[in-house]
Structures are given as C-alpha cells and as structure tokens.
C-alpha cells in the first residue's frame, strides 16, 4: 500500500516541510478548533445520556482530517457540502455550535444555516450529497464564479453508487470540487477489509480521470497541504481531486452503537497512539509555538464556547407545534394549507381538553 503523505509523525516529530502559508495565529486556531471538537464530543455524549440530545456521531480521532481540510479553503467564497461527522468544518464555515446541538435533538432551529455561511445542510443519506457538490461546483463554472466546493464522506459511503456517479461526472465536467474521504476504517461495525477489495479509495481516482491523494488524516498539516493544492488545482480550472484522509475513529459510530462488540482493545490502543491532537500539540510545542499557558487559554476558550452554546441550547423554546409545515414549498398548496389548519384545530381542541 502506498504510504500516506505525512508532515508530522505520530510521535510529533517533523518528517516533511510544513505549509508555508500558515502563520502561528492560524496554527493556534486550528488546534483550538480540534480541542473544541474533543470537548464537544464529551458534552454531547453526556447530554445524550441525559436524554437532552438524540443520536450523536462523535468525531474524536478525526479532528485533523476535518480541520486541516477546511482551513485550506476560503470560507468567504468556497463552499462546504458535508456529511454528518464534519462538526468542525461546519462550525468553521459559520454554523453556530448551539444550532448544531439543536440539530442533534431534531429541533427545527437546528436547521438554520446563517445566510452568510457557504454551507450546505449536513447529509444523512450516505454519498447522496456528492452529486449535489458536483452540481454546485459545475454551477460555479457556468456562472463564472471563482470558487470551489469541498465535500466530505466516509469509507462506507465510498461503496454507494452516488460516489461513483458523482466522481465520474466531476471528472467529465472538470468541476472545481475536492472530495475528502475521511477513511476511519469503520462503517459502523464493517471494517474496510470487507467494505472493499481495493487497497485504497484514492486509487479509484484514476478511473475518473482525476488525481487521487493519500494523506495521513491524523496529520493536520499534511491534510491542510493536500487540500490547499487540490483547491488551487480546482480554481485553476484543472478539475477535481479525490483525497483519502486515513484517520481513526476513537469512539463509537454513534451513541446508539457499542463498538466493544467488534473493536478489539488492541485496535483501540493502536488508534489512541495516532491521536491527531496529541501529535499536533507535540509538534507545536517542539517548535516553540505552544506552551502550557497557551493550552490553558485554549481550554478556557473551549469551555466558554461550549458553555455559551449549551446556554443558548437550553434557552431555546420547544419547537412550535406544526413547524414541520413550514418551508415544504415556496407557496403552500391548498391541500397542505387545509391539513395545517386541521392540525391546528386538533391542537386547539386538545389544549382546551
């Protein structure tokens, strides 16, 4: 198997050239966002256990794949089309953390994407968003916009037909889209070894007439660098790129899953040794860019963000009854209007008791 591109080794030692364009301020922002991700998981799992959140898909272990790639685009002009484990990319693109938490409890306020955030709604049907991402990027070509699309999916989603159809079309149109596969090795309980007979997902790029890049997805700098290059290619009119970010899932697939049934303690241990946060922190410290004080400040910032989000979450009133009737059509058809009126009449009767 080809070796994934790496700039920082798992022990934190530097084995490649760090990206030239990243200043200390940005490096700190990247680590802060990664630290926030780990803490969001802890908070969300605890809220879920207390019945305040619905099913939650933790991101722990994949912080670098998400953060490294999304930091490489221009969020003022480029777009992100996410699947559902890209909490950090979505936050970076402008989604409020409280909105994200509300979405995890199925509250309609959780569907609110700020008007200035270049972000598609998160996709639950695996790979179904990949053709959308290609269409969006193709639309940028047709409307003459100097922008690209970054889209995410997982190793499991790479088995879906939509993955194939989307990559094929992107290649044909030369669409400015970058596909980032977060290959964490598991589709719930199904390991890559029985997901596919292929060694890599990146290797499939040949079949679509685009470059495929294998990168250590737990190395935030390497992920940043390959995405930056892929973006440059896309904006130069050279077409799409398929990036396979090899990463690790430290927790369960979701809060509804019990990975002890299929992941061995040795496998957990091996994944922990590849922790993207420990690795990045070690490198930042070794290059005199990070110290205990910076760490303490970052943790304080994370705690503040989470506290504020949970306050907003708690302060959000329950959904209005019948809010699901909103925004189904631009103009409500007569029949739907009658159903809505009937619904509210029923509710009124119920409340009068």
């Amino acid at each position: 198997m080809a070796e994934p591109l790496r700039i920082i080794a798992p022990d934190g030692s530097q084995v490649g050239e760090p990206p030239a364009g990243l200043g200390d301020g940005e490096l700190h922002s990247m680590l802060r966002l990664m630290l926030l991700g780990r803490r969001i998981d802890q908070k969300a799992i605890s809220l879920q256990r207390r019945g305040k959140l619905g099913t939650y898909a933790p991101l722990s272990g994949q912080e670098a794949a998400s953060v490294g790639s999304v930091f490489a685009i221009d969020r003022a002009s480029d777009w992100v089309v996410p699947q559902y484990r890209e909490q950090l990319a979505m936050l970076h693109m402008g989604l409020r953390l409280s909105t994200y938490l509300l979405q995890r409890m199925g509250h309609p306020a959780g569907a609110e994407i700020p008007a200035d955030a270049n972000l598609y709604p998160q996709q639950v049907a695996l790979a179904a968003h990949l053709p959308h991402a290609v269409g969006l990027a193709w639309g940028f070509q047709l409307t003459g916009r100097d922008a690209m699309v970054l889209t995410y999916f997982g190793d499991g989603a790479s088995s879906e037909g939509d993955f194939h159809e989307a990559c094929n079309l992107a290649g044909i149109r030369g669409a400015p889209v970058v596909f980032v596969c977060q290959n964490n090795g598991w589709a719930i309980s199904t390991p890559w070894s029985i997901q596919s007979a292929a060694e890599t997902i990146a290797g499939r790029a040949d079949g679509y007439g685009m470059p495929g890049v294998l990168v250590d997805g737990n190395d935030v700098l390497a992920t940043y660098e390959v995405t930056r290059k892929a973006r440059e290619r896309a904006l130069a009119g050279e077409g799409p790129t398929l990036i396979e970010a090899v990463t690790t899932r430290l927790g369960a697939h979701t809060t509804a899953d019990d990975p002890t049934r299929y992941v061995s303690p040795e496998q957990v241990e091996a994944a922990r040794a590849l922790d993207p946060i420990a690795r990045f922190t070690a490198w930042l410290r070794a290059t005199d860019r990070w110290d205990d004080e910076a760490e303490a400040l970052a943790v304080k910032w994370c705690d503040g963000e989470i506290e504020r989000a949970v306050e907003e979450f708690d302060a959000t009133p329950k959904p209005r009854h019948g809010a699901f009737f909103d925004d189904v059509y631009a103009e409500e058809p007569e029949r739907l209007r009658r159903q809505r009126e009937r619904f509210h009449a029923d509710r009124a009767e119920l409340e009068e008791g």
Partner: protein, 325 residues
C-alpha cells in the same frame, strides 16, 4: 395558433424558456447532439451551445443530484430522464433529496428544478420503459407532479414548471408525443398548477383522468353519448397540487365518477382521487366510484400491453355500469 404535436410543443417551450432566461439549462442522456431520443430537445444545443444543453453520462442519480447543486448555484436545470422507468435509478435523489432540500434548511435552499420524463404504455417499448408510477412521486412531499394531456397544456404547464421555485416532476405521455396534436397558443402561455380542466362537459358521469388516459376518456365519452349517457371528462393536469375543489364540484354535478389510470391499481393515484371525491362530495354520490386501471402486475412486455393499458372498451363498460347503478 399553430397545431403542434405534444413533443413539438415541449421542444418549442424549452426553446422559449431558454431564450427568456439564460439560467435555464437542459441536461440529460442524448439531449444535445442527437436532440433527445424523442427529439424533445432537437436543435437546442445548436442554438444555445453545449454548456447549456448538456449530454450527460448514463447516470440518472447524477442527473437529478447534480441538478440540485446546479440550482443552488443559481442555474435553472431542466433535467430529462429518458424514460420514467429509469427514474428508479434516481429514486433516492428524487424522493430523499430533491423534494426535501427546502425544508431541510428552513427554506434557505429552494430547488428550482424540473425533471421531465416520458411514461406510459402503448408504444411497444421494452421492459421498464413504460412504467407508470406517478403515485409514488405524488407521495413525496416537496415535489410537484404534472401530467399534461394536450399539446397546449404541455406548453403551458412546462413553462410554469420551469419558472416554479420548487422541484417539479413533469411527466409526458409517451403515446401522446406524436399522436396528440392540438392548437397551441404562440408566445407566452402559462397554465397554473392545481387547476383541473374540463376536457368535455357532461351531466351524467364524471370521468377523471390525466396524461394519456384523457384521450381514452374522451373516446369513451363520445361512445357513451351514443347510448344517451352524457359524460364529463375532467383532466387533472397536475396531481400535486391537486384541484380538490374541481373534483368535489364535478361529482356534485354528476353524482357519479369513474377514475381512469394506467398504473397498477393498488395505491395508484386513482385511489387518492377516489378518497378525495368521497371526502368532498359524499352526499352527492349516486353510485360507487369505479376505477379502471392497470393490474397489480409488472407492466407487461410490449406484445401483451394492449391487454393491460385501459382502453375504450374497458372505460366504456365502467361508464355504463356506473351510469346504470
């Protein structure tokens, strides 16, 4: 007014809408160089170029899925699925994505997409090509479902579909492409959604139909007139939104109804029509509502399809029974 075939009405409307709005684009299999397997897009690529009239890879999910993204980028895609039966391979994009994007993000992403697809039997097409499953599409919230029966409506409803801010499934009767010919208004012609059309006035029995079955209903009505039965033919034109009021009013006038459809009977859209009539006009009903439909079998291979698709004889028998009940 010029007399046009249905396929020519569709072609010229696409041309008008593309000329009117440069965001409108056509994409599908064989729509460009060949002008579509039924010539519904003939000449469009020569006039508007290969950027706006796009020959797509054979990938129905990508045709619909990419249209969603194109619409988000500000284009107005009109996608062609070569046959509605091929939409099975795009069903997850149609049901799971196309109709839900608006509500998924609280209205931020309206998807102005029209998906055109011919359907229905009577042209000896191979397996799967003739499948009629409009009821499945009508069951997907967020979609509109349109099924014109005349060339004039094909024009007016297509123009409305393309300009509609929501996704529209625009179903064309395969059999009617060249057989249906009528006077089509020139220039701007818009037919609003949710307004049924009285294709033939009558007082004794209402026959409800859409798409290719309207023609069968009209033939049966003419034949029934010979028996002294005055038949009203109501062409729904759009299944979603449904003209509930017109269904109620028609049956309030005649007290008797027959529903004609090509699809398998169970859970066909005809069942929705029957349920709606009894909700709207129960006290006016003088007879049970009859359904004349296909059967609960796969739509058969071409050599057997004449026995499957409702025809004049079966429609007339149902009209007579209902009138005499």
């Amino acid at each position: 007014m010029a007399v046009l075939s249905m396929v020519e009405a569709i072609r010229s409307t696409l041309e008008l809408e593309m000329a009117r709005d440069e965001r409108v684009m056509v994409l599908g299999e064989d729509v460009g160089r060949s002008g579509g397997v039924f010539r519904a897009t003939d000449g469009l690529q020569a006039r508007f170029g290969a950027e706006r009239v796009v020959d797509m890879p054979v990938a129905e999910a990508a045709i619909v899925g990419a249209s969603i993204g194109l619409a988000s980028a500000g284009m107005v895609p009109v996608a062609e699925l070569q046959f509605l039966g091929f939409a099975y391979q795009a069903y997850h994009q149609i049901a799971g994505q196309l109709g839900r994007m608006r509500s998924r993000a609280n209205g931020r992403f309206g998807i102005q997409v029209t998906v055109r697809a011919p359907y229905g039997g009577g042209v000896r097409a191979p397996e799967l090509h003739s499948d009629a499953f409009e009821s499945v599409l009508a069951h997907c919230p967020g979609l509109k479902v349109v099924a014109p029966a005349t060339a004039a409506d094909a024009k007016g409803l297509l123009a409305t579909a393309i300009r509609d801010p929501d996704p529209v499934m625009y179903l064309e009767p395969l059999k009617g492409y060249r057989l249906v010919r009528d006077e089509v208004p020139e220039g701007e012609h818009l037919v609003p959604f949710g307004r049924a059309r009285v294709a033939r006035p009558g007082t004794d029995v209402t026959v409800v139909a859409w798409s290719a079955m309207v023609g069968v209903a009209e033939e049966a009505a003419a034949a029934a007139a010979g028996d002294g039965i005055s038949v009203e033919v109501l062409d729904l034109r759009t299944l979603v939104p449904l003209d509930v009021a017109a269904l109620g009013e028609a049956v309030a006038r005649t007290g008797r109804a027959v529903v004609l459809e090509e699809a398998p009977q169970t859970a066909g859209f005809g069942a929705e029509v029957v349920a709606t009539i009894q909700e709207e006009a129960f006290l006016s009903l003088e007879a049970p509502i009859r359904r004349v439909s296909g059967y609960d079998t796969p739509i058969p291979m071409p050599a057997m399809e004449d026995d499957y698709v409702p025809d004049l004889r079966r429609a007339l028998a149902a009209i007579r029974e209902t009138a005499r009940y």
